[in-house]
């Protein structure tokens, strides 16, 4: 099977700092890949480099046979990427409705149908539909951020720490939604919450000091306490 997303020895800089120094990974259609690593390893930078917010200085990023390495962010994203950032990226001065509308690449029937599906999936958003997004709670902002990524016909979702800062009950809801996505979407998930990562992910990559150092099945990592301690700095109970 051909990979949907392939990163081949990708490097990138933030200012003078060489953050990614050789990240390679492949994601096949329909799977959920988890990117793990200690704080500051380069996980978020990997996602931002894929969509071009941080330009790749070296290496190749191929999405569905299209080289997006040198594309500006808006073009890279339009190849079929939904991006959900760590801070949700919600526009506070826009209403919930406007946050969804502004994200639509085309305001056609298919997009509006997807919006209706999102509102059914997250009833809280339907209730707050006309309210300014600044009035939403953390959980509702995460729902809106996920919903916003889904209003377009995308091939892959990049999600950065979806459980961060959320109450356990909301984390469960987000996990259920991601498990639901898995049935027909491809996911790249950056997650510090190991339980969540293991619940959603099929395969994993570990990034250390800007390089991919290990990959394999999530199930194996979950069982291997030595590996967890060595690469992640903790051991599951």
């Amino acid at each position: 099977m051909e990979p949907l997303l392939k990163l081949d020895n990708v490097s990138s800089f933030i200012g003078p700092f060489h953050i990614l120094q050789g990240v390679s990974l492949v994601v096949y259609p329909g799977e959920a890949v988890v990117v793990l690593g200690r704080n500051g390893a380069g996980k978020t930078t990997t996602l931002r480099t894929i969509i071009g917010l941080i330009p790749a200085s070296d290496g190749q990023i191929i999405l569905d046979d299209v080289n997006i390495s040198k594309m500006p962010p808006y073009k890279a994203v339009r190849q079929g990427i939904g991006f959900i950032p760590e801070d949700y990226g919600i526009f506070d001065f826009l209403s919930v409705e406007e946050n969804l509308l502004v994200a639509m690449w085309q305001e056609d029937k298919a997009s509006l149908d997807r919006r209706d599906y999102i509102l059914d999936l997250f009833p809280d958003l339907k209730v707050s539909y006309k309210r300014l997004a600044s009035t939403l709670s953390g959980g509702q902002r995460q729902m809106l951020s996920i919903g916003r990524a889904l209003v377009n016909d995308i091939k892959i979702i990049l999600i950065d720490e979806p459980s961060k800062g959320l109450a356990p009950i909301i984390v469960e809801k987000v996990r259920d939604v991601l498990l639901d996505f898995k049935e027909d979407k491809t996911i790249v998930l950056v997650e510090q919450n190991f339980e969540m990562a293991c619940a959603v992910g099929d395969r994993f990559y570990i990034i250390n000091e800007g390089r991919t150092v290990l990959d394999g099945a999530v199930e194996e990592l979950y069982k291997d306490k030595e590996l967890q301690k060595k690469h992640l700095g903790f051991v599951t109970a």
Binding site: I51, L53, P72, P73, Y74, K75, V77, R78, F83, P85, G89, F91, D92, F93, L94, E98, L101, V102, A103, W105, R148, N152
Partner: protein, 288 residues
């Protein structure tokens, strides 16, 4: 009482002109984070282009449209060639836009000469109305109507269109706008050019009011526009509208009763507002 009604109309007309400059300046600062000193020059160019086209065609409306088109085109060129490379670098923005102001103001002198060129109001609004012995200038009423129409148009664009949605989103996070698949640079260019067109329209409308066009007329109005932007709150077109009315009325009143105090009055007003509300009257989040 009659004097106050007359000063009220004069102040609102002055405010409408300042608003045309300040609205663009404020939105450019709020969305793009650009400190733009080219507005005074665009104001001058609007004045000169309108006079030139009015001389060729005899049509005031065509002259206004020509000024708007010229301002828009200059704004596009300024943004694409000079401002875009220095987004995020305020010091460079100030130096570059000040440089553009000097060069393009001198270019006006080169093309149209250093002396003021007389200008007249279009015949169909050159008259006055006398209502209960209050003399009302038709042209000033026209300026107020234009100011109101522009404010309504900006309000509609910002709050009811996709362009406005992207502008408001871009004010908070241009990176996230791009991450949603939107080419924010096109919107940046459009907003800069739109602001430039408004400044040029302001210049074109100002010239018939004062009866001549000269290369120094931009700087005073630019200073007033900056005062309005800070007073109203950076990034808020609504603040610009309210600030323009306040400054316009202040200028009209003070210059009638004691002209030497006019400049001091506007600056004092600014100091007073900033002391009470450092973000301005309707200040929104402004990009660093």
């Amino acid at each position: 009482m009659h004097i106050f009604i007359m000063l009220l109309i004069n102040g609102l007309a002055e405010g409408a002109l300042i608003f045309l400059m300040a609205a663009g300046l404020s939105i450019i600062l709020g969305l793009l984070g650009v400190v733009n000193f080219t507005h005074g020059t665009l104001f001058i160019w609007g004045g000169y282009v309108s006079i030139w086209i009015f001389g060729l065609t005899g049509s005031f409306i065509i002259a206004l449209v020509a000024a708007i088109v010229a301002g828009f085109a200059m704004g596009l060129i300024f943004e694409r060639l000079f401002v875009r490379p220095v987004y995020g670098n305020v010091t460079a923005q100030i130096l570059i836009t000040l440089g553009l102001m000097i060069v393009f103001t001198d270019l006006v002198r080169l093309l149209w000469g250093p002396n003021p060129i007389p200008a007249s109001r279009p015949e169909f609004m050159d008259g006055t109305w006398v209502i209960d012995s209050v003399i009302i200038s038709q042209y000033r009423i026209f300026l107020i109507i234009v100011g109101i129409l522009v404010a309504i148009a900006i309000n509609y664009i910002v709050n009811k269109t996709r362009v406005g949605m992207v502008m408001r989103a871009g004010t908070q996070s241009p990176d996230m706008v791009q991450a949603l698949g939107i080419n924010i640079k096109v919107y940046f260019s459009g907003v800069f050019a739109g602001g430039a067109a408004l400044a040029a329209l302001g210049g074109a409308l100002y010239v018939p009011l004062v009866g001549s066009v000269w290369s120094g007329m931009g700087i005073n109005n630019q200073i007033l526009a900056f005062i309005v932007v800070i007073l109203g709150g950076m990034g808020s077109y609504y603040g610009s509208a309210v600030g323009s009315i306040i400054i316009g009325l202040t200028v009209a009143m003070v210059s009638w009763f004691y002209p030497p105090l006019t400049v001091y009055a506007t600056v004092l007003l600014l100091l007073l507002v900033l002391t009470l509300r450092p973000q301005g009257l309707f200040g929104l989040a402004v990009r660093n």
